[in-house]
């Protein structure tokens, strides 16, 4: 399987601390790859670097085989790389449908066309139905619960027909029923060919969903492999237990 995302010796320092330190990893197409590590190991920073929200000090990123010279969120999204945020960010003052349609890739000259075309709306409602949010289609996004926002955020990034989605802690802060729902969606989308890189703290979720698992500590990769193997890797245990 080819690598849809390759990170090569990426480094980012804040003051004297290297949040990401010479990190190299690859995500194979068609997998649900987990990115785990103790707190402060640099996972979210890595996401920010890959998607262009932060500028790396050194190192490079390649997406779909092509090196990305200057990662920039908008351009990357249009190429098929998108992400969610830990805090479940949505466009609060817009309705769910508007939220979804905002993510539809459109050429610049469509700026004066109608905001929500029939085709867009149908696609949006379709996706919302899949995620169980269709009955709230016309409600304002800031009226959603945290779990519903996470679902909306996930649904929204799919509107752009991405190739790789970086999920930042999809099951954190939600009740067990919602965890199950999220996992189901991830599995389903994976089945349809989507590649996912998931930052997760919940080991059970990782064990159930992901293969391979990449472990980060102090900003670089310390282990990689199928979940069972990683679980027993002494280096990984060390990192988490801090001996």
């Amino acid at each position: 399987m080819s690598a849809v995302l390759e990170v090569d010796r990426l480094t980012k320092r804040f003051g004297g601390v290297a949040a990401v330190d010479g990190c190299s990893l690859a995500v194979a197409e068609g997998t649900v790859t987990a990115l785990i590590g103790p707190n402060g190991s640099g996972k979210t920073t890595l996401f920010n670097l890959i998607t262009g929200y932060l500028r790396a000090d050194s190192g490079s990123v390649a997406f779909a085989g092509k090196r990305v010279r200057r990662p920039e969120p908008t351009a990357l999204c249009r190429r098929g790389l998108t992400r969610t945020f830990q805090q479940a960010r949505v466009f609060g003052s817009l309705t769910l449908v508007q939220n979804m349609v905002a993510a539809v890739q459109q050429p610049r000259r469509s700026a004066f066309r109608q905001a929500v075309s029939r085709a867009d709306r149908e696609r949006a409602v379709g996706l919302l139905e899949e995620f169980g949010l269709a009955r709230l289609a016309g409600a304002r996004a800031d009226q959603l619960s945290f779990g519903q926002r996470k679902l909306l955020e996930f649904a929204t990034v799919l509107m752009g027909r991405p190739r790789l989605v970086l999920l930042d802690e999809p099951t954190s802060g939600v009740n067990p029923v919602m965890v199950e729902t999220m996992e189901r969606h991830i599995r389903e989308l994976h089945g349809r060919g989507l590649t996912l890189l998931v930052v997760e703290h919940s080991m059970p979720t990782v064990m159930r969903l992901c293969d391979p698992v990449i472990v980060l500590d102090h900003g670089s990769k310390i282990a990689e492999g199928p979940p069972a193997a990683v679980q027993h890797d002494p280096a990984v245990l060390d990192a988490y237990l801090g001996t």
């Binding site: 908008t74 960010r89 949505v90 003052s93 993510a103 700026a111 009955r135 289609a137 016309g138």
Partner: protein, 339 residues
């Protein structure tokens, strides 16, 4: 095609008709004069709102566009002598377009910065515009100002053509405002306002959207400036590019409800007559600065969303407390009441 709702259309045509009929009903000069400034500020506030209200990027340099429009008119007559009469009105669209295009380079630099820096850059632009007005003697005549040709309108209804021209600019502003809000550009701007970083991550062309909004805002403001120049007759740098014009427009948009279509007009309808009255009765302009400040602070702290959205909230609260438990509200699609 966009859905033009019947109530929306009725509002648009109705208000335009009301505004247009005003000088035929109230014919005294000083009343129409207040009307001109009210409509002017309504247009300015509506234009400001396209960028400031929809995208959340507070531009504090709109007076620069105003001045550019004013000087544009005057320079066209000074240096190219287009003739007078109604001609100054016909060239307005040209001025609007011209200014909209002219500001693009600087706007491009400005919109790539984040909201706080952007506001500051626009303030700087304002002062630079004023400096240029003072210093480009060959073009603007510096501190001596420029003179517009004398309008040939009869004394009794002198103000009327200017008033109607302003109404035309206001109508255009509201129309464009609605067109943008109901279109994809509006969606992009609202997304930017809510969470720009996320919008970028979803593939929204944020720079492009902001530039468009700046251009529209600038063009409309410039047109209002053009009418003003012809009405006043002579323009000086410190009045054509006056920070208080910006502050006034922003305050009115805030008061009426930024992000709505008619909010800015409402704000102008409330504040301009009040301001004119204050200036008239108190005389000293310094005290009206303090009054402005007090009103502004009051609005910020007590009613930060402005009048129209606050009313909409009250109505929605009333409706839901009456047991009408509908998560998908009927009007939730169009951003009429979105802030």
């Amino acid at each position: 095609m966009r859905t033009v709702t019947v109530p929306g259309l009725a509002r648009g045509l109705g208000f335009t008709a009301l505004f247009a009929a005003f000088p035929f009903v109230f014919t005294e000069s000083w009343v129409v004069n207040i009307g001109i400034f009210t409509v002017m500020y309504a247009a300015l506030a509506t234009a400001w709102n396209v960028l400031g209200g929809f995208s959340g990027y507070l531009s504090l340099g709109n007076a620069a566009f105003f001045g550019m429009g004013a000087y544009g008119e005057a320079i066209l007559f000074q240096h190219i002598s287009i003739g007078s009469g109604y001609r100054p009105f016909w060239v307005l669209p040209l001025i609007g377009l011209g200014v909209a295009v002219a500001v693009l380079p600087v706007a491009w630099v400005a919109v790539r910065t984040r909201a706080a820096t952007f506001a500051i850059v626009t303030i700087s632009m304002l002062f630079i515009a004023q400096q240029l007005a003072f210093n480009l003697h060959s073009l603007t005549n510096g501190a001596q100002g420029l003179v517009m040709p004398l309008p040939p309108f009869p004394n009794t209804t002198f103000e009327r053509p200017f008033y109607l021209a302003m109404v035309a600019v206001l109508a255009l502003s509201v129309l464009l405002s609605w067109y943008v809000a109901s279109g994809r550009l509006g969606l992009m701007l609202f997304a930017i306002r809510d969470d720009e970083d996320r919008a970028r991550g979803l593939g929204v062309h944020t720079t492009y959207a902001k530039l468009f909004a700046v251009a529209i805002s600038a063009g409309l403001t410039a047109m209002a400036g053009g009418v003003w120049a012809y009405y006043i007759g002579f323009i000086y740098p410190q009045f054509a590019v006056d920070p208080l014009v910006t502050i006034g427009a922003v305050l009115m948009a805030f008061l009426g409800g930024r992000g709505t279509i008619w909010g800015p007009t409402l704000g102008a309808l409330i504040l301009v007559p009040a301001q004119q009255y204050l200036a008239f009765s108190e005389g000293a302009s310094e005290l009206y600065l303090v009054a402005y400040a007090a009103i502004f602070l009051g609005v910020m702290l007590l009613m930060p969303r402005g009048i129209l959205p606050s009313i909409a909230d009250l109505v929605a609260a009333r409706r839901s407390s009456n047991g009408a438990h509908r998560a998908d509200g009927p009007r939730a699609e169009m951003p009429e009441a979105v802030t």
